[in-house]
Amino acid sequence: MSYRHNDSGRLIDRSQTLTFTFDGKTFTGHPGDTLASALLAGDRMLVGRSFKYHRPRGIVASGVEEPNALVNMGHGNRMEPNQRATTTELFDGLTAVSQNRWPTLDSDIGAMNAAIARFLPAGFYYKTFLWPRAFWKNVYEPFIRQSAGLGRAPTEADPDSYEHFHVHTDVLVVGGGVAGLAAAKAAAATGLKVLVLEQTHYWGGRTPVDGGKIDGMPAQEWIDATVAELEAMRNVTLRTRTMGAGVYDHGYALGYERLTDHAPDAEGPRHRLWRIRARQIVTATGAIERPLAFAGNDVPGVMLASAMRDYLVNWGVVPGQRIVVATNNDDGYRTAIVLKKAGLDVLRILDAREAGGGALMQEARDLGLRIDCGRGIGKVSGGKRVKKVQICVTTGTGGAMEALDCDAVAMAGGWSPVVHLWSHCGGKLVWDDAQAHFRPDPAKAPTGADGLPFVTTAGSASGPMALGSVLQDGAAAGTRAAKAAGGKGRAPKVPVAEDVEEAAMLPVWQMPARAEYRLKSKSWLDFQNDVKVSDVELAAREGFESVEHTKRYTTLGMATDQGKLSNINGLAVLAGALQKPIPQVGTTTFRPPYTPISIGAIGGSARGDIFQPVRMTPMHAWHDVHGADWEPVGQWRRPYAYPQQGEKVEEAVQREVTNTRDNVGLLDASTLGKILVRGPDAGRFLDMLYTNMMSTLKVGRCRYGLMCSENGFLIDDGVVARVGEDAWLCHTTTGGADRIHAHMEEWLQTEWWDWKVHVANLTEQYAQIAVVGPKARQLLESLGGMDLSAETLPFMAWADGELGGIGVRVYRISFSGELSFEIAVRAGQGLALWEKLVEAGKAFGVMPYGTEALHIMRAEKGFIMIGDETDGTVIPQDLGLDWAISKKKTDYLGKRAQERSHMTDPTRWKLVGLETEDGSVLPDGAYAVGRGKNANGQLVTQGRVTSSYHSPTLGRGIAMGLVLHGPDRMGEVLEFPGTDDKVYRAKIVNPVFFDPEGAKQNV
């Protein structure tokens, strides 16, 4: 059984008891426990099921590398899947549920998969489930999906909040172990800004577990003193519970702080994403111990040797009472020694090396422990708990020499530096034969914007594992980073520690070396994804020779732990199968984040109402109060219509059109772009920008203009007013304002840089109100202040003046075919003028109208709309706008492009009006069918509907469309198959449906 052993446990506070539940059963623990240590204390060894075979799984590690102990935590809208028990700090009232099992963890139906595991090798699903064809989607796949997937998904919106921090620092140190602290101290001594991130809630990493003396004092004392020293420095920031998640280009790094995961009742955000800009980054990320691959190494009770020591020293917990230790290096002895000293029964140390180890072996022997050299584990038996270990010769085939009854196994396979952060941004690795691991290659560091290295590794993350070397490397890394970041001054004294001499380790990738298939097929590499030695060998045999192929074929290293325990072992097995040296097989790519981070934290605080800023016109609040039905238009919101009490939106639109045509309507046109173009060459510039001539426009007059891209396509339209000798005001579409402004700047700066022109985007400086309808002039005259008669202000003219005491500029332009004035006013007075117009307009039946009424009225008049009649593939010539293309100009943007063969092709579809025979509304976007099929078997088309509305003015449907030879086919009837399986018939007509003579607008 696993239990709370004695009064050890340096991280827990035994004076307080916390209560929590796992799978509905109540357990207790102490502050300082992780969920994993508390479960072990409560003899809960079985904590999960593996992904594929649903094998029983116990806790194997003590940190972020844990592949097995994943639980569903919380409930309701705070439920969260796949929480790692080893990094979950215990709190009172925690509720956890095991995953990937049904109906219960102890009797899981899915475990049947384990019984037929021999038929489910790596990639079996690529070779079967082929017939019958429909079964993949409807039978096989649902079954596979249901049995995979680990935790349950939350279903509701997340009630917690998240936020981002933006931090600039000279040196970022990731990892608060002794190497990180030594690095921080060295860097901080230069006076530079130093930020230190530690993923756990305590400093010092694993050193206090392993013991040793630093600068003559016990490790913990040195750690406390150093942290106190750093805390006292104003240039140093220390942060626990904050993981270095990723390193990106140019010294950008992400920190992931878990603020309330351990205290769910606390106020404030749950997670915080630190967006860090560092001149230099020191990754003091430590090392992770590798498991050994022997048969049954996945049985609950088999644990990493270092983890077993962590559980005992940190939390006073042991996974069993009769323990076997298997190792291929000296470090494994530390676990045996710690266990023995705590009074536990260490049955045997199996050292894979014929010659055994060094001083630590001697110490173990002196403690009376029995050591078998050249021996290893042939097989571990037991279902949900270790029961027996068979001992074999390491170099043999697995024949059992002896069996030991035991209830826990510690495995020590050697250590691999955590190279993730080093690798995220391109740092390269080098194979270290002596320690059988990949370590960072300092000559090939990630480089920054200046082409120089910006990441340096410290401590065991660099490769050395002994305390003295770790400290030395840490301090040197801090000094190096500070120097590279521009720090000056002497480095402080390097902390020193005495190292125990260790004997060389022996790489053991399969125990025993010549194991038979039956053992290899039970020797796990990836515990969560159920990848065994036999699977990697099968992949190699089948030609998946690249490590990327093998990883993908077997799913090795693709689980939630991203291969922290399995990558090197898997790689070595693959290299062995291919008979190639390990470095030639290479490694897979390390991708951020180091461990999974919440998507909520990535999103940050910008959610719900503050998800994105909303741009508001000066009249926005008025529209809101008066019932506007909003339509998002880019970042703006514009009133689509103003439905009245009991009125449907569509009805409101029809009313708004009718009222504007009969009386007078108001439109908030403030969102339209207003760009001032000014300078001696402004006319010349606009002549290049627009298809028509703008330089000849007279001051005081307006002209409608079209703009094309250099590729020939129509990109924007609007009215241009000449507002001075050297100044023009260009109106653009709402969406075009920023885009066209940028377009102008680009041409002026890159190509016509010597032209004397400057442009300014005044869109938000002015509110603009369209006063539209037969009573528009009367309404404005009732406000008084300026002469708006047809004689003084004819169509397509503008004038400055005053209305109701407010300074205005009035443009007499029309997008509706009505008598229409667009009134520009300083933004600050927009609402005042609007309200005056509403008040004074009561006598004339004024009503505001929205974008949809605007659309209908323009369609009734046959005016095109950018985005409706155009879609990025349409040129002005398609739209019958040849009148707006100057014949006199030798050049304008788009002109050359429009001369290409496809642009002048007479078969391009051209703009026409379309009228259904029965007056109904043509489906928007419908295509007209032609005759027969094309070479790809598609029905031939000969046109399409670009806009379609019910016109209240005409009392029937009207539409515009682009049709093959359209203008030459007036009166012809086309067929438009609808998506409702009806065929709509419509006649080709002139696109100007209403008042073709312009009698209404020209009064």
Binding site: F119, T128, A153, A157, D158, C425, F544, P592, G872, P977
Partner: protein
Amino acid sequence: MKRYSAFAIAREGFRAHKGWDRAWTAPEPRKNYDVIIVGAGGHGLATAYYLGRNFGITNVAILEKGWLGGGNTGRNTTIIRSNYLQDPSAAIYEKARSLYETLSQDLNYNVMFSPRGLIMLAQTHHEVRGYQRTAHANKLQGVDTEWISPTRVKELCPIIELKGPRYPVLGGLYQERGGTARHDAVAWGYARACSAMGMDIIQNCEVTGIRTEAGRVRGVSTTKGEIDCQKLGIVVAGHSGVLAQMAGFRLPIESVALQALVSEPIKPCMDVVVMANTVHGYMSQSDKGEMVIGGGADGFNNYTQRGSFHHIEETVRSLIETFPMVSRLKMLRQWGGIVDMTGDRSPILSKTPVDNIFINCGWGTGGFKAIPGSGWGFAELMATGESALCEAFSLDRFRAGRFIDESVAAGVAH
């Protein structure tokens, strides 16, 4: 080639899986081939496969600089759909989609094509109009799609929030037979089938030069020696520019990073694939249970296979608005792929200025879904010199101004 089946697995299960052949052989290059395909990604392998299957051309070598399927084929979000707007696009993507339906059986390799349904969300009025237009076009193109209401969207995808404050769901374009497939398996399945037809897939073999004579291809120089060929197909995505330069012509191609991420695996919660183009986010749930999320592309040239994190932030933030539950999931892994974009964002499947050199590139963000159709059409073009599927995608369209523009959402409203 030993056939794969449940029976074969059962047999091997009793003999330690010793009897499985190599999925593909590892030959050394011969001196001469009828056809050389450069690039053993999905498109290159599919081209070789259909050259053999449809035209009996099997004296073929497929040269790969790295490992087969190691490029964008194994680095995408695996979405398959064919509801494109323009006729040429709809034709080639629908050909591909229909081939995917039977690909597992054709290749005797389970590529796990899962027609689980795909919704393209309309979140602005402009998108509503755009997708309704596409629905009409698809009807005449023989592509099975339909416009669906928000209520139906919610039925198909219960985790969706219809009433976002910024981008409410106004409906969607639904393709019932759209879905996903296992990306690696597509490359592996084609590779195995090519190898079984006697073709040589030569990995770790980089082309360093292209030999021409009198405007006609003669062969290629590689890191494994000189190899002659009658015809050469260049199918190398982001490296097309480099190969084109070797042959003496240039391409309208840019290489940019496109990013994606996956969450930790969770039990099934989303059966359909959802694309939200307004916010540049795509999401589906893999068979393993991971939520696979695709984001937008960087706007500049980049060959690093990593993009900028702020794009991930923006994608994720928008997805949280539309799928609030994802906030509590965790991001497991993020990565970037380098995609090759043309001037009109549609691919190039074309003859080139050099006789008997053909190029297939420019798939941008949409290449995976096209693999079978692209291979089918490109094989036809290489074998016969003509292909209706490829015709509109020729290189000369950029000269004539005959673009195939799928980005109709580029318009704006007044």
